[in-house]
Amino acid sequence: MDALLLQILNGLDKGSAYALIALGLTLIFGTLGVVNFAHGALFMIGAFVAVTVQRVLSLSYETVDPSQKDFLGNPLKVKTPYVESWFGPETGGMIIDWSVPIAIVFAIPIMVSVGFIMERGLIKYFYKRPHADQILVTFGLAIVLQEVVKYFYGANPIQTPAPDALNGVANVGAAFGMDIVYPVWRIVYFFFSVTIIAAIFSFLRFTTFGMVVRAGMADRETVGLLGINIDRRFTIMFGVAAAVAGLAGVMYTPINPPNYHMGMDFLVLSFVVVVVGGMGSLPGAVLAGFLLGILESFASTTWATTTLPGINQIIIYLVAIVVLLTRPRGLMGLKGVMED
Amino acid sequence: MGILEVKNVGKRFGGLQALSDVNLSVKENTVHAIIGPNGAGKSTLLNCLVGKLIPDTGSVMFDGQSVLGRAPYEINQMGISRVFQTPEIFGDLTVMENMMIPCFAKRDGAFMLNAMPMVTNQKEVLERAEHMLEEMNMAEKRHMQSASLSRGDKRRLEIGMCLSQEPRLLLLDEPTAGMARADTNNTIDLLKEIAAERDITIAIIEHDMHVVFSLANRITVLAQGTPLVEDDPENIRGNPKVREAYLGETA
């Protein structure tokens, strides 16, 4: 029982990353009708915003310590971060320690601007082009972005730990008399993504802006005829989607150290999630994200892999095939979307 | 016994009874119009005839064979061709190629892996398509990409494509919808010519009374999913029930 709940919790935790990425992807697809292969790259850029913030916060000056030697036998240059000398080691250390949460503050404006630049500078010329062209140009963009990141940050993963206070494990089952130990940061990630998802949904549902956007998703031309500048709103939504992907990336860095190809690793998977959820359906994307997370978690249990060897490798695709064959438009998809 | 016999057809969409107890008999070599106000179930009925929808109850017989449960292409191969409300043609292809495709369908059936012979060697198909284009007065446009044709020409092309299959029954779904008056008249003349010169039955769904009364020699009036009356045009004109249900609203 405990093990079962642990796997479900793990599935929700995995699923929250999928859901966030798929949500952004669906927002872009639903509003702009663009298949954005660079969405994974936005996730990656978000993660590297966290890396950069961490690096900037720990910018250091060097002092020579003759008592220690470096690898060449020269006196060791000891690095002290500026923030530690400004705020004292205590507070300074704390600031560096909290660099990932601090990065959120920077990530929002950065990612929104990245989204704006992408949409205004490139994507908007592709609204009327075939989906294949959109895929190709955004794929090219994804390659360029990840190669640029690789050029500056290298190919190896970069450790960006969570604040010490959030680094341990918590027994989430204790309240129910069970023993379910789970990393605190992963729980934080889960609640963070639920908050973001809830925020996006209420934004679309309860604000006039959101209502116009939803109406535009359903029927762009009619809304345009009403004299509403729907394009500008869609641009803003692209920025929002980029920010969602970026935040998902920032928060993901303590879970797994970011590297330049993490976006590509998630790309195929997130497309599968979007399609299983149903192209253009926001609730579908979220539902499918969590569902696939849980299924993936269960497929990796020893029980599953001994019953069906290799099931953990193919479960996602198997689910995609079964869903698409039984529910032609995914779990909650709309008719006629992306079928031509 | 008509070429097309619709018996007791009913169709439900969720809570909406789109068709109930529809009986219809289209006699061979007539022009049979089906009219009715918006939402009367005209399009649903048409879709039941061509295999796009399967009715919940009743039967649809074409030339003594049931069409129910057959795919659109099978029904077409039985001899029913359909003209759409907005012309459905192969926009990326040239006019000539558009005309050749139904000729191939007529000659080769629903599928044939004809991958090695060249199109340019298909003499009888080429001749047939050429002939059809001439009949439709489109021969000089044969190399144009069909998407760039005018609406009226697209309609002519579509009708020509249907005719090239030599169907026994031609179904037209509001063929003049959205057309300018001149184009409408051209289409009426074309259809008249077809009806007069060919061994063909035409069933036409139409809104425009001018078209209906210029063409039809039998009319069925649908209202709220059921046939209200079926009669000759003269009688329909004078029928008070029809006036009330339909003409009264539009006239």
Partner: protein, 400 residues
Amino acid sequence: MFGLDKRDTGVLIIVTLLALFAPIILNPFPTDSAMAQFNAGYPDLMQKFVIFGIFAIGFNILFGLTGYLSFGHAAFLGIGSYSCVWMFKLLGYNVIPGIVLSILISGLFALLIGFVSLRRSGIYFSILTLAFAQMCFALAYSVLSNPRFNLTNGETGLQVYANDPQWFHRDGLPDLPHLFGLSMRATQKIQVGAWEFQLNAGYYMCAIVMLICFYLAIRIFRSPFGMMLRAVKSNQQRMNYTGLNSRPYTLAAFVISGMYAGLAGGLLSAVDPLAGAERMQWTASGEVVLMTILGGAGTLIGPVLGAGFIKYFENIFSKINDNVLHSWFAFLPDGLEDFMVFIIHPFIGKGWHLTLGILFMLVVIYLPGGLVEGGQRVLGWFRKRSAKPDAKAGKTEPAE
């Protein structure tokens, strides 16, 4: 010629000449010159050009004609490769049985996968094919290489071992893939002054197969069947109401293009008897999509150009290193030399992905019809210059 019209015959003749003289055309620079870095006329790369050309031609029959975008075609490439190597392992190194089997097996897989995937269209179809291919890759990489049932040899790649049966292998035959005794590696080197040209048996075999494939593709494009496939792309609704069943047409196109992919996979094994699982990964499927669109989807010659373009980058640009750069710019003053190297450095060697990504974007943004459109524009520009009054001649007809 061969039942083709004048224009197609012209294209076929040009492609034939290019293929036959590739070893010379692709080696324009003397062997010891600094520019020799850009020579592509060595057997392995030429083989890759034509083999991936075949792959892309086949993919284009599906995507270019019917518009169905498969994201899983690499699976057939991989299956073809594995089939061919298995023939080497069981029968011996003659390439014929391997190539034949690779076409058959991949055709069979294409039939199964296509039958299921073609029940959906649009992006749903793409994701279904992607899912099947990724499953093939994942299983080939790990589960199917387990010691008890080793079908693929996993990470290392399937290869021939000394203790394999090789029933028809005799002593006189080469210990490498061969065509009735002619080793695929047999290379005649010819020196003309400072140039060296390599005539390789494997390349010529692949080139001949490619020419046959190209010819067959022209026939398909110009056949009633090809017209039906274009009809599928243009308007499936009209097609169905014209008495044509689009499903078997698309399935046939899928199987044909799967067989082309299988053949390409078989040839890859024939010239180099090792089949790696990465061949089936989604990036490999993406690569053929890129090749086709980059060259010009729906055109005859485009996919071949696209294949050449990408393979050239992968193999030539990745090999340029700073040393080479320094040798190019050695004539400049020191500071300027270093500056030039510094500027170019990010785009070559380990940065070849970056260059490729930028070029993708440029081509897609400015040449929606791919390289073929680029070629037409250049031609149109020349024509305009030679015949000024006929100003609009450049771009009336859609890409061939």
